[in-house]
Symmetry: C2
Subunit: 224 residues, 2 copies
Amino acid sequence: MSTARERILAATTELIASQSAEEISTRSICAKAQVGAPEISRQFGGKRGLMAVVADRGFERFLASKRKNPRTEDPVADVRTAWDSHVRFALENPHLYRLMFTPDGEPKPQAVKEAQALLLGVLGRCEAAGRLVLAPAVAGQAILAANVGVCLMMLSFPELFGDLAVSEVVRDAVLGKVTGQAQEGGGAGQAAAAVLARALVGALSGTVTVEDEVVQALSRSLDS
Amino acid sequence: MSTARERILAATTELIASQSAEEISTRSICAKAQVGAPEISRQFGGKRGLMAVVADRGFERFLASKRKNPRTEDPVADVRTAWDSHVRFALENPHLYRLMFTPDGEPKPQAVKEAQALLLGVLGRCEAAGRLVLAPAVAGQAILAANVGVCLMMLSFPELFGDLAVSEVVRDAVLGKVTGQAQEGGGAGQAAAAVLARALVGALSGTVTVEDEVVQALSRSLDS
DNA sequence: ATCTTGTGTTAGCGTCGCCAACACCACAGG
DNA sequence: CCTGTGGTGTTGGCGACGCTAACACAAGAT
């Protein structure tokens, strides 16, 4: 038999899989945990305190599942898969997710900062690779806010936002913005403009031919 | 003296300016509305029903404030100001906003669809102007989800998301994605690439000079 | 005059979160 | 050996909650 505190947490975690935090009564928790009624107050200082701990435990699972994601050589792609695993977690644990990201009053789960710290790690790699056009802090806030918004709308209004296409659109939008790449060939357009401009200048000044400049630029882009 | 139903709604609207929906007790509502305790059940079928009506009234105010926004000749700019007024409404009515966009259980406010319908109207003008690269329905869902996400994070974690910069980043990201324009000069970059390409072709084929093409393109862009 | 509709009043139900008080038991230190 | 001492279970109850039944009353419609 484990300790009372762990039994209460296990029971609550089990109940929140099928009920919202409000719908769960402390009495039902105590019954399932085989614990007296005053135990929750003793251990957690009340229902809100218990729920805050449950939320933090949820964040641990959340972060653990994210840490399992492979860490490829493309940090931006890693951010993309992190987004998708975020959405998956929300859809698989709707009530827990709402408890984590829409807390009512104090105390609020403290682990949101850890989630952002994890995201900031990947974004740091993005910046080191020169893929960021924004400060990692702002980029992280933007990504997290958009990600949470998509998930909450999918949970609250599934008939309006049930489609995963919305998630992909917003994800690519924010990622494109943060990395400075336009989404469909926009970055290529900028690069083309730069190449052509350089080629033009060279050609007009007579130093090189347009063909040489374009060929060189193409070979450079194929290398990277 | 107005009707009991209206007094209850007015009292609730007044209370929700400083308290969350959970924190408000039906008894406090009845006291302020000078109404007997059973009146809420009679009129709204219970507290949840009352809150759903309050949320729908909130949506009416929300939409009314949006309809006051000027309707310029640039529909994309109109979407942008709609985003900003959305954020302003959320910050000015935090508890009401959370009631509107994070309902717990049934019945859910039905007016979210009206909000999306209003957004779809502007997006229809965008599409008519050839500014959309996505279906208006998907674009509307993406914009609304991202907008709500930013607001909810600002309300739930003000110490992490208190900055309006996040809102602007996400707004420009989604709007850029939806309109197919790169965010900062990306559209200009694409246009430059097209102009230069045309100029190059013309110059290489000997039909026109580079200068003529560029000057013509510049004068065209200055006209529009 | 009667009926309907909306409203106010009283009393009470069952549940909720929480707490005080006490009893029990294992385990370390004297 | 006792003796705290801390963690745990039990009982009973407090005040507040949402909600409902039952009844009374007034005004307008029929």
